[in-house]
Amino acid sequence: MSSFPIPKLDCLPTRISPCPIVEAVLEIRFITEVPWMLIPGLLSTLISDKYPKTVDLPLSQMPDAIRREEPHLVYQPLIQFVGDPFTIQLGPRMLSLVSNKEYPGWTPIFEQLKWLLQHVKTAGFIAEGERIGLRYIDFFQMDLFQKLTLRVNSDGQSVEGAEMNLTTTFVQEGFLSKLIIANNALVKTQGRANKGSVFDLDIALNAGDFDLFENGLDRFQKAHQINKEVFFGLLRPEFLASLNPEYA
């Protein structure tokens, strides 16, 4: 796989303002020997204090035999455990911790992940980790392509004003990184639909590159570091400066 050159910053911000993160998802895919009907109960008894509300998702109504053989449905959640400020999503082959309200910062998410993994280990339904992924989705109310060190050119000239959707996958320090940048996004915030750009970055490791209960947390830490390096590295310096960066 070819490399994807990304400018390396001497110092990464700890925070920018306004915070563009609309969703942060830490996902674990796994295999299990436990029937699906037992898994939600195994987990809910351990997390119900913090996540008292359970929501069955629409996909849970689809017959199991059909859902299991549809590739695009295999890793979808069927149930949500709703807490504040996080939601836990669970499916027959996946578990995720989602921050979709105001982003609380990495430390609270990581601490919550640590807590969740302890309970998942106790619940005992994961036979083997298949993939871990850290995905951050950022939204900017502008054409982001004009603000990045990544340029799209045609006939030697920069492409501007056109609707664009770019998807690329590359390896960054051993992690598989999937980046989607689109300037034709609509995001609903505070009851209004806002037009702008998304920067959707998923950093993942496949089976064989992690051991969920041995070094999974370390791997998530590293994935977060890489996510920051890629995100901030692709912002043009003057654009980053306009986002009121704070440094440790």
Binding site: I31, T32, P92, R93, E128, K178, A207
Partner: protein, 126 residues
């Protein structure tokens, strides 16, 4: 036209090259349909680590041109690659989640190898 999952196109291309369409198809079938429990007994789901070990090994294995390696799924959820060497003797590799077992009837080899060491060993053997 097929668009593999992001980051998987090299793996699928390798499986197609080394196993042929039939072998690649069996792998995809195992991944999709046998990742949960299967069979009537205590068969285990396909181990992602086993799949990973197989793919990494495919990048170094060069079976004879006439070998047509076959791929199987064991009750333990591990992938197994099997073919006959130039003398018609059996070669089998069972890819476990942490270690793999290599059997070469022609050379009298039967050994278990940690997965991290497997590609280097297979490079010298095949």
């Amino acid at each position: 036209m097929r668009y593999p999952e992001s980051g998987m196109v090299d793996d699928e291309a390798l499986a197609l090259e080394k196993l042929g369409v039939k072998g690649w198809g069996r792998l995809e079938h195992f991944k999709l349909c046998y990742a949960g429990g299967w069979g009537r007994g205590p068969q285990k789901p396909l181990s992602p680590r086993s799949y990973n070990a197989l793919i990494r090994s495919l990048s170094v294995i060069q079976p004879p041109a006439t070998a047509h390696p076959s791929v199987f799924l064991t009750d333990a959820g591990f992938l197994e690659l099997a073919w006959k060497d130039e003398n018609g003797k059996a070669v089998q590799i069972e890819f476990g989640s942490r270690e793999s077992e290599v059997y070469d009837e022609g050379r009298g080899i039967e050994m278990a190898v940690p997965n991290e060491n497997l590609p280097d060993l297979l490079k010298t053997l095949f």
